[in-house]
């Protein structure tokens, strides 16, 4: 189900414009004042019609102010919830506004918004519910510190087994999500370090997930939320969550089939 996608597939400009109009870009931000402004400028010039919501996870700096001066929607969380809670707030917002597609893009500038059409093309080509931008599929393979690479590879192997399909970049936060998956995520989304677990939950409920190659950029400012010790905790927490999720009965209300029926007009 891997999509070595071709952006030209989305050559129909009118279709792309329509698609952008019913999409929302979610940017989780925690102390990202250094990089957020540039990212929002870039998004604004590339996709002027795209709605953007910055979810400020109780930053100590002027993240919310930067976002407001760029004229985007700001969801200001009064307590720090971590990425999981932040994303769920965004999903709830998108559900309430009835968006059809939701994109997620990190506030540190690692995810180039110019690659969003690639995600959209992959979604269309594979009839997928969720598309993940993978930094390991492309020709410019991304390299990190060796330990982190080992961790990501191990996690990818475990997740590939859990999902019964090949997953190369389990921690990627560059995603495109369609309406049924969005409603699923708004109801239930994992807390800390949610990305790998959320993929396992998706495939378990019958949603289609696919990856597409994306060139990530270096971080434009701020620092990773995952330090050395936290990385070990990350690996253990996610492994435990993946195992426990298998032992838990899948909630039939959130299955893809049921969501599609509920969302049908």
């Amino acid at each position: 189900m891997l999509a070595h996608s071709d952006p030209n597939r989305y050559s129909n400009a009118r279709l792309m414009t329509e698609w952008i109009q019913e999409s929302l870009l979610l940017i989780p931000a925690f102390n990202e004042e250094a990089s957020l402004g540039a990212l929002l400028d870039e998004v604004g010039t590339l996709f002027p019609a795209l709605d953007v919501a910055v979810i400020n996870d109780c930053s100590g700096d002027r993240t919310a102010h930067v976002a407001r001066t760029h004229g985007v929607v700001v969801l200001d969380l009064p307590c720090n919830l971590g990425v999981g809670g932040v994303m769920q707030a965004g999903f709830e917002y998108a559900c309430a506004r009835d968006y059809r597609y939701v994109m997620r893009c990190d506030g540190d500038g690692q995810h180039p918004p110019s690659e969003i059409p690639k995600l959209a093309a992959a979604m269309q080509a594979n009839n997928a519910d969720v598309v993940i931008g993978s930094r390991f599929l492309g020709p410019h393979a991304y390299t990190s510190t060796p330990w982190r690479n080992v961790g990501i590879a191990g996690l990818a192997a475990l997740l590939s087994y859990a999902c019964r399909q090949r997953v190369t970049d389990p921690t990627s936060g560059f995603q495109l999500i369609n309406r049924p998956a969005l409603h699923f995520f708004a109801k239930t989304y994992p807390s800390d370090y949610p990305e790998p677990e959320s993929l396992a939950l998706l495939t378990r409920q019958g949603y289609r997930v696919c990856e597409t190659a994306v060139d990530f950029r270096a971080r434009q400012g701020g620092c990773s939320s995952i330090g050395k010790r936290a990385a070990l905790f990350y690996a253990m927490k996610v492994t435990l969550a993946l195992l426990v999720d298998r032992a838990r009965a899948a909630d039939p209300r959130f299955s893809r089939q049921n969501m599609l029926e509920q969302l049908a007009p």
Binding site: V73, V74, D76, P78, L81, G85, A89, E92
Partner: protein, 200 residues
């Protein structure tokens, strides 16, 4: 000697209970702590005098003294925490249960030992350690479950709060400005003013 000790422990319960009821509101907790310390000293001294007569007996006595003190401490601290509204009654029940069980161990060691040996085959010391440890494990487990639930609720509230704030902002944009502060300005205002001090 054993009868004396039993009398002493029962007397202690009564005295501390009386102090609890009659004591001055502000100093109750501190008074109870001092009382416990005094009792500990007395029992320790008593234990020392017994040493010459029967070593096993003294060990038993000391252990009883320690468990008795522990139970007093748990009971008093729990009641005090409830009184100061630092602890809810539902958690206090758990702690009071623990305190009472330990107290029973201190007051009726022979009966509890006999019962425990019949049930588990453990010695007195091991039994007490196991019981206390088991209870503490239960409490911490209970707290982990409770914290997770609270974390969940906190997340839900936080998200709802952010969405509602956004909604207020939008509504404010929709209606003509009345010259009042907008939602996020109000929020900034609220942040800059110090929170109201807790009533004493």
């Amino acid at each position: 000697m054993k009868a004396l000790l039993e009398l002493l422990s029962v007397g202690l319960v009564l005295i501390s209970g009386l102090l609890f009821v009659a004591g001055r509101k502000q100093n109750r907790f501190i008074a109870s702590c001092w009382l416990l310390l005094g009792v500990a000293l007395v029992l320790f001294l008593a234990g020392v005098t017994f040493t010459a007569q029967d070593k096993m007996m003294t060990m038993d006595l000391k252990l009883r003294a320690v468990t008795g003190l522990l139970s007093f401490f748990v009971l008093i601290a729990t009641m005090e925490a409830v009184r100061r509204t630092q602890m809810r009654e539902r958690y206090a029940l758990l702690w009071l249960g623990i305190g009472l069980v330990i107290l029973v161990f201190a007051i009726y060691p022979t009966a509890t030992i006999a019962w425990l040996q019949k049930v588990t085959g453990m010695q007195y010391v091991t039994a007490i350690v196991v019981v206390i440890f088991g209870f503490l494990l239960l409490v911490t487990f209970h707290f982990s479950v409770e914290f997770s639930r609270l974390h969940d609720k906190l997340g839900r509230l936080t998200r709802r709060c952010a969405l509602l704030e956004r909604r207020i902002e939008e509504l404010e944009h929709a209606v003509p400005r009345s010259g009042k502060t907008s939602a996020h300005q109000f929020h900034a205002l609220e942040k800059s003013t110090p929170p109201p001090s807790r009533p004493a």
